[in-house]
């Protein structure tokens, strides 16, 4: 299995905490957004142990940084913009995968409608890149700044991301004679109190009538073509790098010392049977 870790570090100096998480969970692909330090300092921390095999993958999206435990030549950039970075992962004898790393605009600055329209643009970009590489083994990951139930994620011309593997396995749906490919979004299962799990990945409390408090903004979603290779039980919103907690005593993210977002760990089986 190939292990992925995504974390919006909110421009905090968290290099040491990130490296601890990577080592503890034997992460293969590290994806960061809002990483404040230089890629060189991250590499130094990642490669300071016995194994020095992490590389920084070339990109032009400064909001998103990607580090890999293998040659960066296996994770070629196909597309970047200010908030999206698309990579084609082509490891030897393994299933090729298109990785779409995103950090979409915050609700503090964008209306829900604008966020939804941005998902339409993102969906179009993903489909164009899938056509370019010739497959739909696509994994989309990042801080979407939207919950899985919001319009941009569930609408057909948005990301069309559904909560059910069975529905997603239909491949696509038609609306007014137009075809829209599905994503399966396993993050629906990460709302609410469950033993040993935080009730979301991002906490926000404000004095207004509708308040979700806990949100699941950090998400991974997969196309049906790789759905069976993504075990929902292995998707974890992390709360501890080593012995330190990322949470305050009240259970909310300790945004003073760490990020206001919690990291997301997941794995995808890429091995091909011959």
């Amino acid at each position: 299995m190939t292990k992925f870790l995504y974390w919006n570090t909110n421009r905090k100096p968290l290099t040491s905490a990130i490296a601890t998480l990577v080592r503890a969970h034997e992460v293969d692909i590290l994806i960061l957004s809002e990483y404040a330090s230089s890629p060189a300092s991250m590499l130094q921390a990642l490669n300071s142990g016995a194994r020095a095999d992490f590389q920084f993958a070339f990109d032009l999206c400064e909001r998103i940084r990607i580090f890999t435990r293998f040659s960066s030549s296996f994770i070629r950039a196909t597309y970047d913009d200010d908030r999206v970075s698309v990579r084609h992962l082509t490891l030897p004898a393994q299933r090729q995968v298109l990785i779409v790393a995103v950090h979409l605009p915050s609700k503090r600055f964008w209306s829900e409608d604008s966020q939804a329209f941005e998902c339409t643009e993102l969906s179009r970009t993903v489909i164009e890149q899938e056509e370019k590489v010739g497959h739909r083994n696509t994994v989309l990951v990042g801080d979407l700044n939207m919950n899985p139930f919001e319009k941009g994620l569930v609408s057909a011309n948005g990301l069309n991301a559904v909560s059910s593997r069975q529905v997603a396995s239909r491949g696509s749906r038609h609306v007014l004679s137009r075809q829209y490919p599905f994503f399966f979004n396993p993050m629906w299962a990460h709302f609410g109190d469950r033993r040993g799990h935080p009730p979301g990945s991002y906490y926000y409390d404000r004095a207004e009538l509708v308040n979700h408090y806990w949100n699941v903004f950090e998400q991974v979603m997969v196309r049906p073509d790789v759905m069976e290779r993504c075990d929902g039980e292995e998707i974890k919103i992390l709360t501890t790098p080593g012995d330190v907690s990322l949470l305050r005593n009240d259970g909310t993210p300790n945004s003073k010392d760490f990020s206001d977002h919690l990291p997301l760990l997941f794995e995808i089986g890429l091995k091909e049977e011959f």
Partner: protein, 123 residues
């Protein structure tokens, strides 16, 4: 015998205003010439709800068609004003000055030079 139906249209004059997309396409073509076609510009146009949306990409053919989206603009059927991020540009002149600023920004220069270095390193 019925009378022939007359032409009710006025003389149709072409607008002298240069459309924003024409300005973008010209800049896209110039990028190829300036980089010996190691990099190319591409403009993609879409329409939605009466608005025209144009996206400007830098493409590196030698990097398997890698694309970097530099900016998006939109306008309605009147061509101007053009919306770009939070700016509203009311004339062809204002629009060209804004595009000049984007193309001459440190960010764009950094993207172009990084891509050129990457292309040369892989060839």
């Amino acid at each position: 015998m019925a009378q022939p139906i007359p032409d009710l249209w006025p003389e149709i004059e072409q607008s002298q205003v240069v459309p924003p997309v024409a300005i973008l396409r010209e800049q896209a073509a110039l990028l190829g010439k300036k980089t010996n076609y190691l990099l190319e510009g591409r403009v993609v146009t879409r329409t939605n709800s009466g608005r025209f949306f144009h996206s400007f990409y830098i493409v590196a053919p030698a990097l398997d068609g890698y694309e970097y989206k530099l900016f998006d603009i939109s306008h309605d059927e009147r061509l101007y004003p053009v919306q770009i991020n939070v700016a509203s540009l009311n004339s062809e002149q204002e629009f060209m000055e804004h595009i000049r600023d984007i193309l001459n920004s440190d960010k764009t220069k950094s993207v172009v030079s990084s891509l050129l270095a990457q292309v040369k390193a892989t060839s």
